[in-house]
């Protein structure tokens, strides 16, 4: 078996500010890797470098593609990277408005991803889109409505449906429950948890919420000031944190 994603020596600066420093890891098929750390620690920057949305100064991101074999994400042509990101990857943004097309219907948002992986039959696409609305607990009757008419929690669930309908091999998620009410968060976590299990997803999930990390991830990397200071099995990192920064993060959680 080969890693799905191999990251070596990845660094990214904004001007003189180092946002990511010398990051190395492998993601194996079926693994959900959590990236945790406080705000500003470089989580989003790292995720964007992995998905080819930002170009790192140094280092490499190698992806084992179903269609193209082993590719360096940052050496691909823009066209090919776009194709990859529509067919083999998903990207769930914190702000659903950035991950959805707000001007078209929910059905078209889901259908677009299906067409990217070759679906052509209108009736099939519509039926699959409707099934996915149901799966993410949105009434099927809302299929023709635009996401502008949806609540924040519904938009996030629609974004998840749009990204997972094509059964991507790798999903990137940036704070998928950030900015939502706690009760709405719980519903989305439950949804993600069951989808991750039933679709055997491989995923990289960025979150500052250690409870979310415990629930959804197999492994954790802890980032501080752009560097990975600790990594390991999720329950081990949370129950027996080694690094001073991780101990501080874990100790700061209010017991529920």
């Amino acid at each position: 078996m080969k890693p799905l994603l191999s990251v070596r020596g990845l660094s990214k600066r904004f001007g003189t500010r180092v946002a990511c420093r010398d990051v190395d890891f492998d993601l194996w098929p079926g693994e959900v890797l959590g990236i945790v750390g406080e705000s500003g620690s470089g989580k989003t920057t790292l995720l964007n470098c992995l998905a080819g949305r930002l170009t790192p100064e140094t280092g490499s991101v190698t992806y084992n593609s179903a269609a193209y074999g082993t590719v360096d994400v940052h050496d691909l042509s823009e066209a090919r990277r776009r194709l990859l990101s529509r067919t083999e990857w998903g990207f769930v943004n914190q702000d659903a408005r950035e991950g959805l097309r707000m001007g078209v219907s929910a059905g078209a948002n889901i259908g677009e991803r299906l067409m990217a992986v070759g679906a052509r039959h209108y009736g099939d696409i519509r039926r699959t889109a409707s099934d996915w609305l149901d799966r993410v607990e949105i009434e099927r009757g809302r299929l023709d409505d635009r996401p502008t008419t949806y609540s924040g929690g519904m938009r996030q669930r629609l974004q998840i449906a749009r990204n997972l309908v094509s059964e991507p091999r790798l999903v990137f998620m940036d704070e998928p429950t950030g900015g939502l009410d706690v009760s709405v968060q719980a519903r989305i976590l439950d949804l993600l948890r069951s989808l991750v299990g039933s679709l055997h997803l491989s995923a990289v999930l960025v979150t500052h919420d250690l409870g979310v990390a415990r629930l959804l991830t197999h492994r954790l990397m802890v980032m501080q000031g752009g560097a990975v200071v600790e990594d390991g099995l999720t329950d081990q990192v949370l129950d027996d944190p080694q690094h001073a920064y991780t101990q501080m993060l874990v100790a700061s959680i209010l017991p529920v």
């Binding site: 194996w28 693994e31 719980a186 519903r187 976590l189 439950d190 948890r193 299990g197 629930l215 197999h218 492994r219 390991g232 099995l233 999720t234 329950d235 081990q236 129950d239 027996d240 080694q242 690094h243 001073a244 101990q247 501080m248 100790a251």
Partner: protein, 242 residues
């Protein structure tokens, strides 16, 4: 009725000699918030457990019994030494192992009954119990049947099965936890005070079920405060000294 409990996908393996071997296991906690205070807990622990055996960890409170058990499960990180588990007809080293190796050992070979249930929001009790079997690829209807069978055996009232266990009593949560850990027939089972918050009737039922696992060839390592429970289950004791 009880004998059907030991049929499952994985099953204790036929294996001569130990299936769990520990050598030189050393573990301290370094508390950075308190000037890097070092708390040495385990030093040079060596033990081995074979199928059909139950090893009881004994020692005063704070001696490191739970720390040892959690280290065996990979939940605590050993500083040094070796924890080898017979897994997939080979030996898997857990000290320094990749997360995916530890997770694979946990899925198929080594179960853990913790003292408290970690509740998963919004998930029904029957699904909490069925989950470890589903992860092994079992048929969902079969996994559910087996979960219901165990819940009934452990005296969880049927009207609770569809509810998340968050609001259950301590004893009910502990029995849900035990059902969840017994649904897969792990060749190695680690138990941290499995009967601590149970009444006499439920305690006897749990002891009976665990004893069946031992007799069917699982290797057990447990912490049992109740001397009666320990005498019924353990064939050997291991002294954990502070």
């Amino acid at each position: 009725m009880m004998d059907t409990i030991s049929s499952s996908s994985s099953g204790p393996k036929e294996h001569d000699g130990p299936v769990l071997k520990v050598a030189g296991l050393t573990k301290s906690f370094i508390v950075h918030a308190h000037g890097d205070l070092a708390l040495p807990v385990l030093r040079n622990v060596a033990l081995a457990v074979s199928p059909g055996e139950c090893l009881a960890l004994v020692g005063p409170s704070g001696a490191g019994k739970s720390t040892l058990l959690r280290s065996l499960y990979g939940n605590y990180r050993a500083d040094a030494g070796s924890i080898r588990v017979h897994h997939d007809h080979a030996w898997a080293e857990l000290v320094g192992a990749e997360p995916r190796t530890v997770l694979d050992v946990r899925r198929r070979t080594m179960g853990f009954v913790s003292q408290f249930l970690r509740v998963i929001p919004r998930v029904a009790t029957v699904d909490v119990v069925a989950e470890p079997l589903l992860r092994l690829g079992a048929d969902p209807a079969e996994a559910r049947d087996r979960a219901e069978f165990l819940l009934a055996l452990l005296n969880i009232p049927q009207h609770l099965w569809q509810l998340p266990p968050a609001t259950f009593s301590g004893g009910e949560q502990q029995r849900v936890n035990i059902a969840r850990s017994l649904i897969v027939d792990y060749p190695i089972l680690l138990l941290d005070e499995p009967t601590a918050s149970l009444d006499a009737g439920n305690r006897d039922r749990v002891v009976e079920l665990i004893g069946q696992r031992r007799d069917a060839g699982s290797a057990l390592v447990g912490i049992f405060h109740d001397v009666g429970v320990r005498e019924l289950l353990a064939n050997r004791v291991f002294e954990v000294s502070p």
